[in-house]
């Protein structure tokens, strides 16, 4: 039998706060992280609620103990902050000699800086040479890799909103196969005018706080954040006396090939990806105790995901969308929610789905409405569905 792939560290930074405990505190007390914008300059600052982290990039860099801010994007700063926490928990020293890989995910990389200077760059590029590389997705990954002396495998994945779920999946596979001993997997995305205007053009941002799985839901809220988990085999974890937190027991990446941006309303793709993740984990539908749903609160996603959950799970487990707290952190969302899912296992708790009033007429599903503790949390499923039909589902299990 193959060695178990486990998680030995977690790190997170969202509008709920810095660190797993700070995020848990807000989640367990039903305190959301949504507000109007104070730091990003856009005409939409007050049009919509956002999950903005209330620090400017300079402060974030100081927090992450980065002495020079030369060319560091907000995306990189968020990433370094979250990886640092994960490293500490997994007891990986900064001067390690381990065979570590970084599988990072981002949807727009350094766009948060590029868009500030883009038209100046076109006029006087020499003045902006420090940002010469931030226009792509790999820049933030290089910054994180170099900060933590990671060089055995360094990559970036961008499958829109399922990016970091796919990063976790790839990390688990690379560790399982032996390419690397330890995988640092997750994602980072800063709020940008680029994405805000993109989603606004798609007309799926709610002017109010998003209402996942509600009949009257009216779109998503955007957020920013970074989250990473440390993935390895139990044997390497034991070498550092680090504590295994949970097992990665199942996963699936499956493209539903239905529409460029919308999911199949019947939920065919969502059904398949959850079903296949269960099969990979050798689990049945009765084993899942909680689903951290994708739950963007867009009309189409929640309909599709509800139909899929209802069809797959005859008796539906508890489910909620924590995007009602953090907003949709895009490429970071899969990792942010993986951290919440693992924490649910560790604390035997389940997080609420905020702002829910009325069940959808088609499915009549009711998500978890309040925070609860002391419940059986053996296996948790976390869903991430994306543009282009790029669906992913992960299953974490109690050790």
């Amino acid at each position: 039998m193959a060695a178990r792939i486990i998680v030995s560290g977690m790190g997170i930074l969202t509008s709920l706060g810095k660190g797993v405990e700070a995020n848990h505190h807000k989640l367990s007390n039903a305190i959301h992280g949504l507000s109007s914008l104070d730091f990003l300059s856009t005409n939409h600052s007050h049009s919509f609620p956002f999950g903005e982290i209330k620090k400017d990039t300079r402060e974030l860099l100081e927090d992450a103990a980065i002495s020079t801010n030369k060319g560091f994007s907000r995306t990189a700063a968020l990433g370094i902050s979250a990886v640092r926490e994960a490293f500490m928990q997994a007891r990986i020293p900064l001067d390690h000699q381990l065979k570590i890989g970084l599988i990072n995910a981002t949807s727009v990389g350094g766009m948060c800086e590029v868009e500030k200077y883009y038209f100046d760059i076109l006029k006087t590029p020499d003045l902006f040479a420090e940002y010469s590389d931030t226009i792509d997705c790999a820049d933030c990954t290089h910054r994180i890799a170099d900060h933590f002396h990671i060089k055995h495998f360094v990559t970036t994945i961008s499958t829109a909103c399922s990016s970091s779920a796919n990063a976790i999946m790839l990390g688990a596979r690379l560790v399982n196969q032996g390419t690397i001993d330890i995988a640092v997997c997750g994602g980072t995305d800063a709020l940008t005018r680029f994405t805000i205007n993109g989603f606004n053009a798609l007309k799926n941002i709610d002017k109010n706080h998003c209402r996942p799985f509600d009949a009257d839901r009216n779109g998503l809220n955007l957020g920013e954040g970074a989250a990473y988990i440390i993935i390895e085999k139990e044997s390497t974890c034991a070498l550092r006396s680090a504590e295994p937190l949970a097992q990665i027991s199942g996963y699936c990446n499956y493209n539903e090939a239905f529409h460029p941006t919308a999911p199949n309303p019947e939920g065919q793709g969502a059904y398949e990806v959850m079903h296949r993740a269960l099969a990979k984990a050798n689990l049945t539908i009765d084993d899942i105790d909680y689903i951290n749903a994708h739950g963007t609160a867009t009309l189409t996603n929640d309909e599709s995901e509800s139909n899929a959950m209802k069809r797959l799970f005859i008796k539906l487990p508890r489910f909620s969308s924590t995007k009602s707290f953090t907003g949709h952190t895009l490429a970071a969302a899969g990792a942010v929610e993986a951290v919440f899912s693992i924490n649910a296992i560790l604390k035997r708790c389940v997080y609420a789905n905020l702002n829910f009033k009325t069940p959808m007429p088609g499915t009549l599903l009711i998500p978890q409405l309040r925070y609860e503790e002391n419940i059986r949390m053996q296996h948790v499923m976390s869903n991430s569905f994306a543009f282009g039909g790029n669906n992913a589902s992960l299953i974490f299990s109690k050790l």
Partner: protein
Amino acid sequence: MSPLYILASSCISPQPSFLCDDLRMDIRCTENNMLHCLEPDFKNYINPVQIRRMSRALKIGYATAISCLNQNPEIVPEAILIGTGKGCLEDTEHFLHSIKEYNETALNATHFIHSTYNQLNGMIALNKKISSYNMTFVHRGFSFEHSLMDAALLFEEDKIDTALAGSFDEMTLEHFTVKKHWGYWKKEDIRSLDLISSHTDGTISGEGSAFYMLSRLKPEHPVAAIKHIAPLYRPSNDDIAEAVDNILQIHSLKKEDIDFVLSGKNGDAKYETSYQHVGQLFGNTQKLYFKHLCGEYDTATSFACWLASKILTTQFVPDYLFDTTETKQAIPKKVRHILIYNNYFDLNQSLILLSLEE
């Protein structure tokens, strides 16, 4: 790793590589430090409704992928793996401009949607109804390499039999101009065909797309196979030498067994030493070159793989791959092993071994 047997390939590049089976191409040369793709008639591959909304990079990538799929219409690949360093750059630029021009109001979402890096993955899956594992790697000089590695991983673990893997990248005039100021390109205009023997700072820009239908099982006829991929992040010379030894050892090869080193040398003096170092590791082994044909870009190794696979299957080694200023070694009677070495601005370097499997 599991060998990746190449059942079919397709390549759009600045050279007439599209639908070219045997490397007998009339080579093009430019004199403005820019190599742009020769575009085929996209109408043969894309329906007229979609074509109007698609940017150049999407059209190039899509037509390359579809023409690759068309060569084995009976095969529905069980995975789609794409590498792109910059994605649809033109769409990204277009959306940035519209945000400013229209002051964040009444924007058209098409360019935003197309700027997402997994756009081509989704489009191929959707139009060809391929519901499967589907992944986009966006890590500069590793993007294509990691797509191949993922295919090999899938072959080993899931026992899927086929995967479509490839890459696409474009260069826009706007991005060329910005990068020019940052010293990426040569200050003086050169003939692209003189790139390899150039020793000044900077290189020339390029672009292209190549796709491969990969098989886990060896077909009965002789094929080219990708046997090894070693992505090296900021490697030292020692790291590179160790990776070369490792590849040779794993595949039970001696240095002399490598018939050609296909070098990613890009004419930029700043990176010459790394190419020299790898050249020295292989002593008298004949070096071939490709950046004078495709230019420098994030996924240029995908073009190199296409060249290497064609050399192996056709046994034709065209003159245009040699540096005429170097002494030419005797061409081996049978070309069996080609090692690609590429250095993407020192950050991402890679070694890819292709072999003829009879």
